[in-house]
Symmetry: C2
Subunit: 237 residues, 2 copies
């Protein structure tokens, strides 16, 4: 049985402010919680309706989970984890940088994509949605347990980054003809405005996904879809 105070604290972890204050975040659903545990994360607390064989847990009833879930429908498991320590970015592997991505589903999808292709680091502008937002955690399907997101001043970061910086724009050259440096960075811009003017100035190459040439077509692609298509090309053997 959780106390009123505990219930309230877990619910409050829906807000970024409260996550920062407490250093905690929530993951829900058996698949996501298991991925964290399998990846070596040590939960502070796990509440489950059913018995679990991979982690110690507190048994609760569904009504309790309904009270603490961050979603309209509760899963059968909810776990509280510690936020990872924020370290300086230091990697020379290919990475993805996100400029003002605001939709949690898009960030979650991009994290899952990076996890699929083996990209371990994502650099996020300060105004990109928090990767420990419950909706982001959920839509990564657990991939967030393996991927590091670095929040920083993206402009300053790219200014100091030695490797080539590729940016997806509507007015670039075809990405099919681009050679991608194995230490490069792919910048994807916001859902509504694309890459911001300050960041555009720092791109080594503007790339674009050519649309069908005959007749009218979609004006743009969703940022997660564009990321998927470009990563598919970059990881072409």
């Amino acid at each position: 049985m959780l106390s009123k105070n505990e219930l309230k604290q877990i619910r409050q972890l829906a807000s970024k402010k409260y996550r920062s204050k407490t250093g905690l975040f929530v993951a829900e659903g058996i698949k996501v919680v298991r991925e964290f545990c399998d990846s070596g994360w040590n939960p502070q607390a796990v509440y489950s309706v059913n018995d679990l064989d991979f982690v110690s847990f507190t048994k609760v009833d569904q009504a309790t989970l309904d009270q603490i879930t961050h979603f309209s429908t509760a899963s059968s498991v909810l776990a509280v984890f510690k936020l990872p320590e924020q370290k300086e970015y230091s990697s020379d592997e290919f990475s993805v940088a996100l400029d003002s991505i605001s939709d949690p589903g898009n960030l979650g999808t991009i994290i899952r994509l990076c996890d699929w292709f083996g990209i371990k680091n994502i650099i996020c502008s300060h105004d990109t949605v928090d990767c420990f937002n419950p909706k982001v955690v959920q839509s990564t399907m657990g991939s967030i347990a393996r991927i590091k997101c670095y929040y920083c001043d993206l402009e300053a970061f790219l200014k100091n980054h030695a490797a080539p910086v590729y940016g997806a724009c509507l007015e670039g050259t075809s990405f099919y003809t681009q050679d991608f440096d194995a230490k490069g960075v792919l910048v994807m811009g916001s859902e509504s405005h694309g890459i911001s003017p300050e960041i555009k100035k720092l791109l080594s190459e503007k790339i674009t996904i050519p649309a069908a040439s005959d007749g009218p077509h979609a004006e743009s692609l969703n940022v997660a879809m564009a990321t998927a298509i470009i990563l598919g090309e970059i990881y072409r053997p």
Copy 2:
């Protein structure tokens, strides 16, 4: 001013049954409504808070739109269109076939992707979510105005289809090495179970998107992302 009956009828168009009965569907938001009009669709009614220069409309206040919207937040425009006539599929262009896609956002995204790459026809199993579901219409961002979705018995359709049938599976050969026939069909399976066993038997080629080979990675890709990556390869010049 809309009558109580009119308000009710528009709200009821959220259900597929009522759309079939009346032969009508709803599109919301200036961008989506404009795309339909630009593509030659003739609205039965347009309700707008602001003046529109591309179509005749009935001026209403926001409170009225709040009453008829199919979303939690209303746009400033809502239009009612006639469902297109269902014709027999007859095309020898490359097409996409969907086997039991249930998420409206996934179908909407796939329609938008097809529109981007110039694919004009999508063949949908009967249990795929209806393409005139308000959430699908919305997430296509207007692309549904240009794409035809054919709902049919997918198994029977593929049995009678002469061109090669490619299916995205977790256990296929790398899609990077596949030659795609210009008259072929790409089958994408459901979010939870992939391509069903009956449909798998009818595939000419099982293809897969290779994941990173070093260490653990995401177990799967979302169906819309997988479609994006494969179409990116098929339309590689």
